[in-house]
Symmetry: C2
Subunit: 176 residues, 2 copies
Amino acid sequence: MFVKKLVGTDLHRLSVEDFKTAQKWPFAVVLDNVRSMNNVGSVMRTCDAFLCDTLYLCGITATPPHRDITKTAIGAENSVRWIYSESTIESIIALKSRGFIVYAIEQTSTSVMLQSVRFNDQPVAFVFGNEIDGVAAEVIHACDGVIEIPQLGTKHSFNIAVSCGMLLWEYARTRV
Amino acid sequence: MFVKKLVGTDLHRLSVEDFKTAQKWPFAVVLDNVRSMNNVGSVMRTCDAFLCDTLYLCGITATPPHRDITKTAIGAENSVRWIYSESTIESIIALKSRGFIVYAIEQTSTSVMLQSVRFNDQPVAFVFGNEIDGVAAEVIHACDGVIEIPQLGTKHSFNIAVSCGMLLWEYARTRV
């Protein structure tokens, strides 16, 4: 098989300036007390790829500029619109008032499995939690529902940047 | 919304011992000269969740035991079956001889977009490349096809552990 790898301008990516004015997709990502800046940067890179409306960085979640965020965001910290809020719940209330349906990504007694979720045109927000403690119980209670990514192996959870990738791909796959 | 977070035995995960003898899903992951041990460990954690048949660690890709792999694999380095090979191409040849169809994950002139790929029961392998250089051209040529994850923003690529998560979720979503 002979193929040409696409690099640089062949990829037809947006400039940071064009990204800022581009029509976004109606989804938001909320990070509830995420500890690792590596994860924050990686989430930003994925949010950039799918034209995220707004990324909410809440509680102890670090904000740009920071070299450990840049290390994995690789510039996406300059394109993606982000807001810092000390309170995750206030961010969720703000999103609901903007018409977003808000899902926590967690493993609970009432989760809907990701493969069963159908997204429509209503704006939607995805809340990801701390690396150890997950999404806080009171934050889950503030959400409209819980989505769970099924796991069949030995580990209890996915890396948060990876689970964000899976969620956003499930959201994006019928839109691209 | 009142829900119970599931933890510990409520999650009904496999023990490492049970994982080793469990029927695996017929897919393999190949890492072609991946530099970051953080990424290797994170890929292992995702492979564990979806019962990966075999993970091939090739070229400069580091192998367990290493604390920087354990940091993100968090034990999945003990469950997932992995093989080291100096040569990515030899791994691909071995997979083909076992009946696997092998896809590079890259951006090329002839890529099939991920949302258009349909997986059947034939064993399938996914080759992910180096963080900077991607999958080597000669490795792409040894594959049966190329899958691309569409991106609409400013960045040229996804983090490799995140792109592995998206691929494996697309593979898993109709099986779980």
